[in-house]
């Protein structure tokens, strides 16, 4: 039982190892501007504005203002 568990665990762990991150020369598509989180600056700003208005907290993203949703 214990051995079987160890085997399954080993398989699971090595399974993760099979997914190697892309090599430096394989990052063609990851290097595209569209793959960045803030590709659309205006949209990113809007998303952050809504987020901090709803959360009642601000900061950490370089946008000033409080949690009143008024700015």
């Amino acid at each position: 039982m214990k051995a079987a568990f160890a085997f399954v665990l080993a398989c699971a762990l090595s399974g993760c190892a099979a997914y190697a991150p892309p090599q430096a020369w394989e990052k063609q598509y990851l290097a595209k501007p569209a793959m960045q989180f803030d590709y659309d600056k205006l949209d990113a700003k809007n998303v952050q504005h809504i987020y901090f208005s709803k959360e009642g907290a601000a900061g950490g993203y370089g946008i000033g203002g409080g949690g009143c949703g008024c700015n």
Partner: protein
């Protein structure tokens, strides 16, 4: 028996994830690739010359900035025995051609769409450059292209050129 099994498994896992980076003092791996005209370029045939091997891709920003600098270096030091071989790792040749139209290269450009050359050279960043001395030994590994490192790399090129082949 069970313990031995676990040990083996552990070693296997570690071995599969570990890789050893090439560094100064190591022998340069083989490099044999074709240029755009189909001419075969072989690193071994350039033994006796100082070779700057640069791995680049069309989608890599710093690569674009490195091309004018590499043109400069070749113009300055070709007479003293410097060769520059730039290995393109793009999957699509058109991407590389578009890049070269915008950033023309005076040096040798070869193509490796398969990725086997950067794998053999253990390229960890784009661009990565290797300064190979006249004996075929790596003198410098430069990851990325930064303006503030230009002077240092040029100094190394000059030093390696001055050292010449081993007597």
């Amino acid at each position: 028996m069970k313990r031995a099994c676990h040990l083996l498994l552990g070693i296997g896992l570690v071995a599969s994830s570990a890789s050893f980076a090439l560094g100064p003092g190591d022998a340069a791996p083989a490099l044999r690739l074709a240029s755009a005209s189909g001419q075969s370029v072989e690193l071994d045939k350039l033994r006796g010359k100082v070779v700057y091997v640069d791995f680049w891709a069309s989608w890599c920003g710093p690569c674009k900035r490195s091309f004018p600098w590499m043109n400069d270096m070749l113009a300055k030091y070709r007479a003293q025995g410097l060769e520059i071989v730039a290995v393109n790792v793009d999957r699509k040749r058109e991407d590389a051609e578009r890049f070269l139209a915008a950033a023309p290269a005076q040096f040798t450009v070869v193509y490796d769409a398969s990725g086997s050359a950067p794998a053999a050279w253990q390229v960890k960043a784009m661009p990565t450059s290797y300064l190979i001395d006249a004996n075929g030994t790596i003198a410098l590994v430069e990851s990325g292209f930064r303006d503030e490192r230009k002077g240092e790399v040029e100094d190394r090129i000059r030093a390696v050129l001055a050292a010449g082949p081993r007597k």
